[in-house]
Amino acid sequence: MNDLLLTVLSMLGAFGFAVLFNVRGWPLLLCGLGGALCWGSYRAVQAGGGSEMLSCFVSALLVSAFALICARLLKKPATVFLLPSLIPLIPGGSLYEAISRLMQQDLNGFLTAGGHTLGVIGSLAAGIFLFTAVDRLIRERT
């Protein structure tokens, strides 16, 4: 399936979760845009030869930056934009895969899927953490 379609789907997915998380008004559309940015940047880094973990990390950095800019412009907490925008890369599928393998006593399958889940989640968390830490440093200095 082509990347454009997947990016549109990411946008819709993020938008849907924004509705469930009670985001209201304009920020809803921004969350959708964040979802597209999340998946788009991930694919772009991958197309440039980056590994999956690196792509997730870069994507998380960009999405955090996007969420922070939206937050400053609209005077809302960055979390409002960050949580829905991350949805396309949240490895719910492989988390499910890992647990269901474990329940079927397929330990190799569990380790593969579980390792993948932890890798992606770690990269995402590292990206968000790094961006937030740098932002805090800059703000405390000025």
Binding site: P77, L86, I90, G92, G93, Y96, M103, A125
Partner: protein, 252 residues
Amino acid sequence: MNDRLLANALDLGQALLECGAEINRVEDTVRRICLAYGALEAHVFCIQSSLLVTVRVGEAAFSTQSRRILHLQIDLDRLDRLNALSREICATTPEAGVFAGRLQAVRSVRRTWSPPLRWLAGGMIAAVFTLFFRGTPLDAVASFLAGVFLQALKDWFGRNRLSTILTSIFGSLLSGAAATLLVRLGIGSQLDRVFIGNIMLLIPGLTLTTAVRDLFDGDMVTGLIRFAESLVIASAVAAGFIIAGTLLGGAI
């Protein structure tokens, strides 16, 4: 700063935690409010299920209060309004009665999208992820219908204050059964692709990510609790879908 004001500060912190604020934000907000009201020192300790604050109000005068947090449901609109309120409180330091009134005003109003719209959003998410994982358009239709059903179910469980774990078990079991029946009726063909869309509505992937973020932030206790919590919930979800798939649809 008196005990009533301290109670207000904790109530605000509790409300923030309950709608999904980061631990950092809660600790920071409560500390700022206490200092704004003239506390000499404010020691705030917060984990995902509890908030503990001690303030020093005089040379040898301390005051401690705590709150137990039982329910967490992500509500970003309320988070936004509470955040705005806390900024205003820090800037204007109104008296305790006014503070409590303003907080009550934010807490009593829950601005959600109308239920049918939430159900549609749930269905859309399910359909989107079915397509994402290479399901056919017909699979996506089945996923959409099961997703609408699942979201309605989740909202109903939520209104009746069912625990997250029970919501996950019953939600996955029933939406799994619905998906299986739809596929048997000929709507969609690949059951696992239909399942994956609905799984996305239940699996605590975002909680797991938040957990790791908490660990990086140095909130070890909260990080570990959330990590364990999301693994337990993921197990409940997996169990529900596996049972539904084996009982009604043969192998998954």
